[in-house]
């Protein structure tokens, strides 16, 4: 049977280049990603850190960076005591142009059975990606209160 993973597909009226920029520029991510900065030089082998409100929440290493088509990195939570115990997972983002629209596919995989991490990211990504889509299309990000997502260990 399939291993536990999270896959989310959306379509955004934008260019692959703008979408790549929106996913990798902290100036941009702060606006739609719960005030999170994505700190990395985006070179394969380089570290990446997600920093929310000044606190590092997740760290990893860049595995692939093929601008503006494919980005992947390992993903290890470092803040919450429970979630910290789970092994590093992997995020893969692919971007495909379709006319005026870009198809964004985000896959987050490598979770342990019965862990809490998968549940948490399954609540987090749809909100982050919805906000990203709104920001690129209408210029206004969605102000979703993080607490409303009901993620255990994250308040």
């Amino acid at each position: 049977m399939s291993r536990p993973e999270f896959v989310y597909v959306t379509y955004i009226e934008t260019t692959p280049e703008k979408l790549w920029e929106a996913l990798t520029s902290s100036e941009f991510t702060r606006r739609y990603w719960f005030n999170t900065e994505v700190r990395s030089d985006w070179k394969v082998g380089s570290p990446i850190a997600l920093v929310m409100d000044g606190k590092t929440t997740d760290v990893g290493e860049i595995l692939e960076a093929d601008r503006p088509r494919r980005l992947s990195y390992t993903f290890k939570h470092v803040l919450d005591e429970e979630l910290k115990k789970e092994p590093a997972s992997k995020v893969v983002v692919t971007i495909e142009p379709h006319g005026k629209v870009a198809k964004l596919t985000l896959t987050h995989e490598g979770f342990v059975e019965g862990g809490k991490m998968l549940d948490g990211i399954s609540k987090g990504w749809p909100a982050i990606i919805a906000s990203l889509k709104s920001l690129l299309e209408s210029g206004t990000a969605l102000a979703i209160p993080l607490a409303a997502l009901g993620i255990e260990g994250i308040e």
Partner: protein, 162 residues
């Protein structure tokens, strides 16, 4: 293991009323559903159809299972091409207000094991719901050239074909 189903969550900067309207209004659906459109009087037990304007004869058909505006909508979903032995699956929309937004959860379930319909709708729903979000938020719709370039069936775009 988990039951075969497709679940999609999307946040829309709007009210539950407006999103519910977009899900059930023929003209609105035509805008974001690439010319296809929903038809029903939305009474529980009444027929539901998703008219596919690029298919000669067949439409997706079903019955209204739940109609609770602006919170919940559910209909059965029989594939137009006889897949899954013509057995219907079930589509349910749940709308929850979240401050100035709506969390829309779509669940498509009650598939047969190994369903071909599940495979197809898993491809289709993200585009339709992404387009719905763009339509409700910005009044614009997402164009899908790989799909929209297929020819329309003459006479099928008019609606009220029953």
């Amino acid at each position: 293991m988990s039951k075969p189903e497709f679940v999609y969550v999307i946040y829309i900067a709007s009210t539950p009323e407006k999103v519910f309207e977009a899900l059930t209004d023929t003209e609105a659906s035509r805008r974001y559903w690439h010319g296809n459109f929903v038809e029903s009087d939305w009474k529980v037990g009444s027929p539901f159809a998703l008219r596919l304007v690029r298919h000669e004869k067949d439409d997706i058909t079903g019955e209204v299972l739940e109609y609770d505006p602006p919170r919940r909508l559910s209909y059965s979903f029989r594939a137009q091409d006889g897949l899954d032995g013509g057995k219907a699956s079930r589509v349910t929309f749940e709308l929850e207000p979240q401050r100035d937004q709506v969390r829309l959860t779509m669940i498509h379930d009650q598939f047969e094991p190994g369903s071909d319909v599940l495979e197809k709708v898993s491809q289709g729903w993200p585009l339709v719901l992404s387009s719905l979000k763009s339509y409700v938020e910005c009044g614009k719709v997402l164009h899908a050239p790989w799909y929209e370039d297929q020819p329309l069936v003459p006479g099928k775009t008019a609606g009220a074909t029953r």
